[in-house]
Symmetry: none
Subunit: 218 residues, 4 copies
Amino acid sequence: MKVKIGDESCAVKRTPGRPRSERARQAILNSTLEFLEQRENGFANLTIEYVAARAGVGKATVYRWWPNKAALVADAFASSVTHKLFFPDTGSVCDDIAQQMQQLVKIFRSRRGHVVSAILGAGQSDSTLVTAFRDRFLKPRRVEAYATLRRGIERGELPKNLDLDHVLDALYGPIYMRFLIKHDGLTPEFVDQQCQLVLRQVLPCVKASKSLSKASGK
Amino acid sequence: MKVKIGDESCAVKRTPGRPRSERARQAILNSTLEFLEQRENGFANLTIEYVAARAGVGKATVYRWWPNKAALVADAFASSVTHKLFFPDTGSVCDDIAQQMQQLVKIFRSRRGHVVSAILGAGQSDSTLVTAFRDRFLKPRRVEAYATLRRGIERGELPKNLDLDHVLDALYGPIYMRFLIKHDGLTPEFVDQQCQLVLRQVLPCVKASKSLSKASGK
Amino acid sequence: MKVKIGDESCAVKRTPGRPRSERARQAILNSTLEFLEQRENGFANLTIEYVAARAGVGKATVYRWWPNKAALVADAFASSVTHKLFFPDTGSVCDDIAQQMQQLVKIFRSRRGHVVSAILGAGQSDSTLVTAFRDRFLKPRRVEAYATLRRGIERGELPKNLDLDHVLDALYGPIYMRFLIKHDGLTPEFVDQQCQLVLRQVLPCVKASKSLSKASGK
Amino acid sequence: MKVKIGDESCAVKRTPGRPRSERARQAILNSTLEFLEQRENGFANLTIEYVAARAGVGKATVYRWWPNKAALVADAFASSVTHKLFFPDTGSVCDDIAQQMQQLVKIFRSRRGHVVSAILGAGQSDSTLVTAFRDRFLKPRRVEAYATLRRGIERGELPKNLDLDHVLDALYGPIYMRFLIKHDGLTPEFVDQQCQLVLRQVLPCVKASKSLSKASGK
DNA sequence: CAATAATCGAGACGGTACGTCACGTCTTCTT
DNA sequence: AAGAAGACGTGACGTACCGTCTCGATTATTG
């Protein structure tokens, strides 16, 4: 709880006693991810017992650093968050976003996708998990997305007064829905059509700007 | 070997032995729903032990009729599915769908919504659950939605060759996303705007029929 | 409870309703014995469920006629009591008894012996069972044994004022002990030696030291 | 890599991990004995659930150390075996053995006797139990008995070439029989008479007839 | 360099719920 | 009225993990 300000040059005040083992920390997070990445091994099936054994670590070591399974999974998820999800700047909002969406879908369809569905699944009965998902995954991406959309607005591709959040939900919602409910394929074609469907709607052309502009009250 | 003629139960060959107790069945489903409807009582916290005790029923009776917790919950949910989720026929597709979406959101925001999130949450590590959700809840509603959309097409409100499933995902996806990730409010205004955003084709102007027409190949 | 005396010619006043099925009764007792006769299938492993199923009978039919497992087994045992256990009259007490003991040991070593050990085993926690064993098996045989011993007394082979019960326990006790504890073989040789050991002791004087000397071979 | 030299615990490699709780072990064995010592609480009525609860112990702890109920009971019995069952050395085989037999009968007639009958009873359908009884109770006592008998042989009280096991069965068999079948009393008088009946060889020839005549009182 | 202190692995502990089995009772239709 | 069929509420089974707790061993800082 003591925050050292300034220079750490010579006197890095370390706590006495054996320091935390970085090897153990990594092994625990890795065995957690490894488990979640397997199909049909959701959060519910994950056991601390297994994680510890797989990591070659005592159970107490897990509990010493993570208060519960959810915290462990949230941490493991955060440490796995891909850095490949960026928005390019092609000059066309539609293309910028379509490309990022394709990357997202690729992740969702990979083994890493199981980690996402595990965290969203478990999050339905443990709000700390969805919170972790929003804070560590969703929001950072939204910030980038806002910028991309604003570029489009500046360029005149999109109307002003656009409810950015709504547009983004309109874009990504169907992807999350298919990802979680699996009632239909999460194909690249679907992604492209989805992107066009939504962004064509908000193209200047028309008059709909009013219905989409953010309600002043809220 | 007396054969009752004219008996209406002629073909209703009863199985021998004591018949299944309807009282027990109802009590089990009810105590399941009751539990899930409480906040923070997710699928994971639900125990068969509790369900049986609450229903005044032996555990074995639960296991006799439902192979696992997932099946029980799916059944309980299905049996509880409100019959208020219908599509009216107002003469306007947009209105028809908007009204049904509002009903859906109302359910999602009610205590019954917890059951849905419990199912979809647990379904992420138990595919039988999402399957049950799709079969018993999603598909029946889709069938009605198709009809509503087709009415709109016939009326000329919507273009022909529309990929109905995609349109429906575009409509409902954002609702499910906000419901499950809770990053933003699931308000009636949002629902209305969402409906208009997707179905704006109704109006003259644009009509991006090409991008939405079902890919011939598929 | 009404005992009809005399002629049953025309009006055998039977209780109304369907009469008890003799077939069922036999099938139940048989499947009970059949089970107990198998090695390692003691009383504890016997289930009414199995007996009923094996006999092709409803469980309730078993419970209608026998209040509990013990009563059933006691009945089954009684119905199986062999009639081959008699004492011959060879003119020598020792031979008379030795022959009967050999027959007894033969039964103990046969599959029927398992029924005896089952009933004595279960009897340790259910006194009705040992009672059944004493009344239906032990006592009838003791009556015969008394007669045999008295013949020997009359013949002068045995002393007067003999405690018959003690002598019989001295004779049979070791057999029951080996039968139940299985710490040593229940061989014909053992039986012969046992018979001689005890009866020589009670002979007027002799001192049969030889019969007690250990068999050289063993 | 410091090796302690001269350490007496050199070969006493302790197993890693938390050591077994002696408290739990004792509590489990005690609650087992306590239960069995009550009349009509046979082996069959004993539940691990009860033992664990009574001992203030998790069920798993019981199962961790004893594979089944039989092993537990055998252990509990063995641990309770009174150390009063020894053979004195009075100079007379008959007296040595008679005294030990009286002690045994005293145990059989006490509450501890229920444990013995529970073990032998249940042992009839679970061979591991009788085996445990033989190994942990019977055989150790036999070893002492052999020594006592051999002393008698050396002293000339008993003939050489005696089948020790048979003599011991002849001595103890009737006691076990009366203990298990309860057809007659297990009185101190019976024990004395039984001892004399079998070991009369000691005496020149005669006189034992009186001790075998039935006690007038009874 | 020894003392102190925190972490490590291992694994036993008291619990809770699991899913199964048999109990003894009941309800139904058939004989 | 008794039969077979079989569902019912009950309760113990033996197992799997939970999260906590000793252990001895290890690895740092401090006196």
